[in-house]
Every structure is written in structure tokens, then in C-alpha cells.
């Protein structure tokens, strides 16, 4: 059982938890993830490490309340317990001096991007940060990321804040030289940014979020095709060369269990299932 020591809302339906898990905090590095089991009957879900404090023994993550598991997780409060946390899993990001790094994050993944930017900045890189969301009120960490980066942009799908969409990146990468690009967010964002950086041969690292069950190389549901080869997202990733990923296959695989997930979520919301009255 792992105690939630800080719980706060970053934006509507986006929560931030800090959890006491000293063995995870001891080893956590940016780019890695956790498998979280909310209660005894929950799914195992992967969430990216968004912060850690080795002294306090805490590890932080942010999550979007999208389906049943994340909604149930979102009901927990400070002082409550999470049933199980395994981690850190996956390979840490490569952190060293590259030069000028373009960091693009969308949605909930802005949270782990903050940690990554901090690490890249400490390694001496020049940071150009872009954070995006569907609408203005879903943007968060603006001040934090702005203060960590040398240049900072925002974008929204509807243009309610900053640029409208990510098309402005085309001009940006055409007009100056970047040594590396890091992208985190929904697969559509990863795909789009990778397409934009490819003609300029900017090494582009994307964090893939394929479906996962165990997160430790036992089931193969996370398999993705990268450069024509089968890779396991959990043990070979989660970061991959963005120019080599077969995004269309990944999109299809992400939709795999959609009807069942909706059903699980709806049944839970109407209280039609016997899950031990977890809904508050």
C-alpha cells in the first residue's frame, strides 16, 4: 500500500499525486514510468514519472481522468492509499549535452516534460519549450516550464491561447537549427511533430504509450513497429526514434479494446457493477 502525500488538481480532470514509495524514488529517472494498481480489482495502468524526491522517498505522476481506472484513482485524496505501485520501469531518457533542444508536450504529458526539461537544462542544453492542450484552461505548468526554458511557446487546438495548433513549428524548425527534439503527448501529436522535424533530420525522440498489461516484458501487447522491427514499448522503450515509428499501426492498436473500456467505465459510473462500492 502506498500513501498519497500530495494530491492536487492541475487542470480540469488532470490530477497530480505525490506518493510515498521510497524504493521507487531511490531509482526513478526521467523517461521512466510506473505501473499503478489503484485497488485490488483494478487494471494495471502505466503512468509516467513526473517528479521524485529521493530524500522524502516520494514519486510524482500526473494523470488524465479518462476511463474507469483513472477516474477511480482521481477519487483518492491525500492520506489515502494506492494498492500497488511497481517501478521505475522502462529505460531512462538519454540526458546529456546536445545543444539546442526543442521540447514539445501536449495534454497531461506536460507534467513529465517538466522533469525532462529540468534534466536537459541541468546538462547545459538550450531549451525551446512548447506546451499545448485542446483549450486554454487545460494548460498547466506555464510558469514552471517558462522559467526552466530559454524560449517558451504555448498552443491550443482552438487558438484560445498561444498558437492555434502546432503548424507554427514548421516555420520554427525551418528558420533555426535544433540538435534534438523531444515529444510527449497523444500519438497524433507525436506523429505530427515527427513529420515536421523529419525533413530537417532533427533527431526526434517520442514517448510511446501503447496499451500495456504488465509493463515488464511479459505479454507483448505493447508491441510496436519501429524501423520495421518489433519492439516492446515497456522494455525496449518507452522512448523511440520518432522518425521510425509506425504510428498508424499504433493508433489501431490503441483502439483495440475501446468498446470494452467504454462499457467498463459506463457500468462503473451507473454503479451497475459489484466492485465493492469503490465509487465515493
Amino acid at each position: 500500500m502506498y500513501k498519497i502525500v500530495v494530491a492536487k488538481e492541475l487542470a480540469p480532470k488532470i490530477k497530480w499525486f505525490e506518493v510515498y514509495a521510497p524504493q521507487v524514488a531511490e531509482k526513478a529517472q526521467t523517461g521512466q514510468f510506473l505501473m499503478v494498481v489503484t485497488h485490488e480489482k483494478s487494471e494495471r495502468i502505466p503512468l509516467t514519472i513526473a517528479g521524485y524526491d529521493r530524500e522524502k522517498g516520494t514519486v510524482a505522476f500526473a494523470f488524465n481522468e479518462v476511463g474507469r481506472t483513472t477516474k477511480e484513482l482521481g477519487l483518492l485524496k491525500e492520506g489515502d492509499y494506492i494498492w500497488n505501485i511497481t517501478g521505475p520501469l522502462g529505460n531512462p531518457s538519454e540526458i546529456k549535452y546536445f545543444g539546442k533542444v526543442l521540447c514539445v508536450a501536449a495534454g497531461v504529458m506536460i507534467a513529465p516534460m517538466r522533469l525532462q526539461i529540468e534534466a536537459l537544462r541541468n546538462a547545459g542544453n538550450t531549451i525551446v519549450a512548447v506546451i499545448g492542450a485542446r483549450i486554454k484552461k487545460l494548460l498547466f505548468f506555464k510558469e514552471e516550464i517558462k522559467s526552466l526554458s530559454h524560449r517558451f511557446y504555448t498552443a491550443t487546438d482552438d487558438g484560445s491561447e498561444g498558437y492555434k495548433g502546432l503548424d507554427f513549428l514548421r516555420e520554427l524548425v525551418a528558420s533555426e537549427k535544433f540538435d534534438r527534439c523531444i515529444v510527449m503527448g497523444p500519438v497524433a501529436t507525436l506523429k505530427k511533430v515527427s513529420e515536421i522535424t523529419k525533413p530537417y533530420r532533427i533527431p526526434t525522440i517520442v514517448t510511446l504509450m501503447p496499451p500495456m498489461v504488465d509493463g515488464m516484458g511479459m505479454c507483448g501487447v505493447c508491441r510496436v513497429t519501429v524501423g520495421g522491427e518489433m519492439k516492446f514499448g515497456c522494455v525496449d522503450g518507452p522512448e523511440f526514434d520518432g522518425h521510425l515509428v509506425d504510428y498508424d499501426e499504433l493508433i489501431k492498436r490503441q483502439r483495440m479494446l475501446l468498446p470494452e473500456e467504454r462499457l467498463g467505465s459506463v457500468l462503473w459510473e451507473i454503479g451497475g457493477c459489484k466492485c465493492g462500492g469503490r465509487k465515493a
Binding site: V37, T86, G217, M218, C219, G220, M230, E260, E261
Partner: protein, 470 residues
């Protein structure tokens, strides 16, 4: 005139195992085989000839004294009988259910020459269940040695070694990456073959021995083996991480939605209890026509689980014939009774998706058997031009598993084979001092009883190492 000794009347037929009828059991996940009653057990035990030179024992990988335990059972001394088994086998409730007895102990029983061999596994199960119903007694532990052992993996190899080392007075910690202990016993073998409550009871017994069980610790990530030895103060490590990495076929279309590895399918069904969805939250989609590729226990388990989850039709595609199938005979028969369709001498070529990208057909090629290969089995050879299509909307690939490479990648100096299995000597010792390994991670996919045997052997070797090292 010496009177001829009356020959004992040989009972050729084994007492049949009471089972749930097929039409009932394919609608539930409860155990199929119900177990002998006391009368049935005594009746079956009475068939044993108590041979002066019992052949059966050589067939048991851990050398259970079969003749003696059956003798004790016959006298009604159940407690002594189970203790006799436990001298060699610490998980009899599990082995009685899942050992491939027809390949092991029962293969050598002399009665097999004239009729059915003695049902050794069923008797073992009877005694283990009798004991569990009464509650385990906690054996005496040796005084504390002050030595600490880390065991990686809570499958049969790890659990067995933990119990033995704890009894010898060592301070034992098991690190298990998953959120539940048991290894394949909980995430692979389905409830209808091995109820999870049995594994749970065994794990509780081990915890009562004082073993510290830490769940959600992936060694290689959370801690590495060098860290366990240097920073965390462990004097020895036993690697019992099994062979959990699923193999894929490498064929076109393999990543189409609707194609699962057997591990994914069984983990969702067993560990995450997808069969109780939506009470348990892990979903699974089982289509109308399920095709399972492979011929081992894993393939049978996947096929029979798919039937229970409501598939209309489940077929197993296997490239050799029924005789070469590596699955336990009893489970092949169970699958047949339940209506699983077998397509022998066929192998997949590629997978074809529908407009949404979901698998809808599988192209196969027919095979014929050629001369025996190195393993002594006749190897299948594709027949040119024999391609044919199968309609299917769910495919489960059950063609084998290899060790997970995380530990091998994060432990410098650990010698492994090109298949990723860890190299050890006959006492489970690896290339690193104080580090031992056993079970599927050393042998590749094998059996529960052989993994347990390795756990016992490793425990003895580790004990010796700890007590002699300065």
C-alpha cells in the same frame, strides 16, 4: 508340496476422476477435476502393488517416495503420508494437479504394462487437499544464522527455495515484480485447472515461516543484483525469474488488433481476472472464432479459457500431429471433450485484417512429417502450394516463451546462453559468486516440479555457501 502363493488380483482400471461434465464446465471457471473422495483414494491406493523395487520413483524429478506414501495412505495415516511427500515436494497440491504424470512417475509404474498405472498424482492431490482443509502446521525453524538471502521471482522455484532457506534459519526476502505472488501458477495456469486459493495458501505458509514478500519490485530496475549484494546487505541471491517473454512468429500481419500472445491473453484472464469483467476492471475481447497456434499446455489453457469466455468456436492449429503435442494428455482430452477443434499438420503463413484493421483471416500451409530431428521428434515440412484460409477474429499465439532479458542486461558478468537462459553448474551456481539461478530461467520452459526441484537444490547450495564462506 509348497503351496503356490496366491497372486494378488491386479485391478487394471484406475478409479476415474470425478469431473464437472463438459457442458457445465465450459460455462464456468471452477475446477474441472473435483478430486477423489476418501473411499476413491483408498480404492485407488489399493491398486498399488508395493513393488519391492518400485519403478515409479525414478520418474519423479524430485524423487518422491511414492511407494511409502501410498502405504501410509492405505493405512489411513494421512498425516504421515503427506509428510512423506513433503520431504521431497513442498507443493503437492499443485503438483498433484499439474505434473505431466504420464511422462513422469506414472510412466514407470509397473501396472502401466497391464492396465492403467496407479494414479499417483491424484493420490498426492487427495492428501494435499486433506491437509489444507485442516490447516498447515508450521515446522520448526533452525536458529537464526544472521545471513540474508534475496530471492528474485515468486514462482514455484522461488517459493520452494524461500521455504527451505527460511527453515534453515536464514533471513529471506522475495522480490516479485508483479503485484501478486505465484508466477505462472497465478498468471498462466487457469483457475479451472489450479484454483488460485491453493497458491494463496502455499504463499501464506511461506510467509508464516518468516519470509518477507515484496511485491512490485522489478529487479534490474528497482534494484539490480550488484546493488542487492553490495548496498542492500544480502549475502546471496537466487534468480528464479522464469521464462516470461512471449515469442512471436515474425509473420506479416502479426500486430493486427485481435492477435494476442498467449501470455497477454492468460494474464488478462487469470491475473487480472478479465473473466469477472466488469467487476474486475481489465477488459478482454473474445471473438466468435478463436484460433490458437501451438500444441503445449499454454495452447490448451488459452483455448479452454476462450471457450469459457463465450467464443462460438475455438480451434487449435498445430504443425505436427496429436502424438507429438507436448501438452499433458489429460488436458488434451479435456479440451477435446469441451469441443475444442484440432487442426493438425498446419502452420500459419500470414494474417489478414478487415477494413478496421482487425484480424479476419489467417493463411495457413499444410505440413507433412519428415524424418526425426535432433530432438527425436519428426519435424514438419511444408507442402508446396497447399495454402488455405481460416476465418478467425481472434488469434492467440502460444509458441513458447524465453527468459525476460532485464536481469541479464543489468548484471555484469552473468553468463547466459544465446537463448538468454542463465548458465549454472549442477548446483545452480552462476558465474558470479553468491548468485544462484534455477527454474525456467535456466532450463527454458519446463515444468512446475522441475522448477521446484531446482529451488530445493539451490537452497541446499546457498546454505552450504553461506555456512562456509568467511
Amino acid at each position: 508340496m509348497a503351496e503356490e502363493k496366491p497372486k494378488p488380483k491386479i485391478k487394471k482400471k484406475a478409479v476415474p476422476m470425478p469431473k464437472q461434465p463438459p457442458e457445465v464446465r465450459i460455462r464456468n471457471f471452477n475446477e474441472v477435476a473435483l478430486g477423489y473422495t476418501e473411499e476413491q483414494a483408498l480404492e485407488e491406493a489399493s491398486r498399488c502393488l508395493q513393488c519391492p523395487k518400485p519403478q515409479c520413483i525414478q520418474g519423479c524429478p524430485v524423487g518422491v517416495d511414492i511407494k511409502s506414501f501410498i502405504a501410509l495412505l492405505r493405512e489411513g495415516k494421512y498425516e504421515e503420508a503427506i509428510r512423506k511427500i513433503k520431504e521431497k515436494n513442498s507443493l503437492p497440491a499443485v503438483c498433484g494437479r499439474v505434473c505431466p504424470q504420464e511422462e513422469q512417475c506414472q510412466k514407470y509404474c509397473v501396472l502401466g504394462k497391464v492396465g492403467d498405472p496407479v494414479s499417483i498424482g491424484r493420490l498426492e492431490r487427495f492428501l494435499a487437499d486433506w491437509e489444507r482443509a485442516r490447516g498447515f502446521e508450521i515446522p520448526e525453524k533452525a536458529p537464526s544464522t544472521g545471513k540474508r538471502v534475496a530471492i528474485i521471482g515468486a514462482g514455484p522455484a522461488g517459493l520452494t527455495a524461500a521455504a527451505d532457506l527460511a527453515k534453515l534459519g536464514h533471513d529471506v526476502t522475495i522480490f516479485e515484480a508483479l503485484h501478486l505472488p505465484g508466477g505462472v501458477l497465478v498468471y498462466g495456469i487457469p483457475e479451472f485447472r489450479l484454483p488460485k486459493s491453493i497458491v494463496k495458501a502455499e504463499v501464506e505458509y511461506i510467509q508464516k515461516l518468516g519470509v518477507d514478500l515484496r511485491l512490485g519490485y522489478m529487479i534490474g530496475r528497482t534494484y539490480t543484483i550488484p546493488e542487492l549484494l553490495k548496498d542492500k546487505g544480502y549475502d546471496a541471491v537466487f534468480i528464479a525469474t522464469g521464462a516470461g517473454l512471449p515469442r512471436f512468429l515474425g509473420l506479416p500481419g502479426e500486430n493486427l488488433p485481435g492477435i494476442y500472445s498467449a501470455s497477454e491473453f492468460l494474464i488478462r484472464v487469470n491475473l487480472m481476472k478479465a473473466y469477472a469483467f466488469p467487476e474486475y476492471d481489465t477488459p478482454i475481447r473474445v471473438g466468435k472464432h478463436v484460433t490458437v497456434i501451438g500444441g503445449g499446455n499454454v495452447a490448451m489453457d488459452a483455448a479452454r479459457s476462450a471457450l469459457r469466455l463465450g467464443a462460438d468456436k475455438v480451434s487449435i492449429v498445430y504443425r505436427r500431429t496429436r502424438d507429438e503435442m507436448p501438452a499433458r494428455l489429460e488436458e488434451i482430452e479435456n479440451a477435446e471433450e469441451e469441443g475444442v477443434i484440432f487442426r493438425f499438420l498446419a502452420a500459419p503463413n500470414r494474417f489478414i485484417g478487415d477494413e478496421r484493421g482487425w484480424v479476419k483471416k489467417m493463411e495457413c500451409i499444410a505440413m507433412e512429417l519428415g524424418p526425426p530431428d535432433a530432438s527425436g521428434r519428426r519435424s514438419p515440412i511444408p507442402i508446396k502450394g497447399s495454402e488455405f484460409l481460416i476465418d478467425t477474429d481472434t488469434v492467440i499465439i502460444a509458441i513458447g516463451r524465453t527468459p525476460n532479458p532485464i536481469i541479464q542486461r543489468t548484471t555484469e558478468g552473468l553468463q547466459v546462453t544465446k537463448w538468454g537462459t542463465i548458465i549454472t553448474d549442477e548446483n545452480c551456481k552462476t558465474s558470479i559468486e553468491g548468485v544462484y539461478a534455477g527454474g525456467d530461467v535456466v532450463t527454458g520452459e519446463a515444468t512446475v516440479i522441475s522448477a521446484m526441484g531446482a529451488g530445493k537444490k539451490a537452497a541446499r547450495a546457498i546454505h552450504e555457501y553461506l555456512m562456509t564462506k568467511k
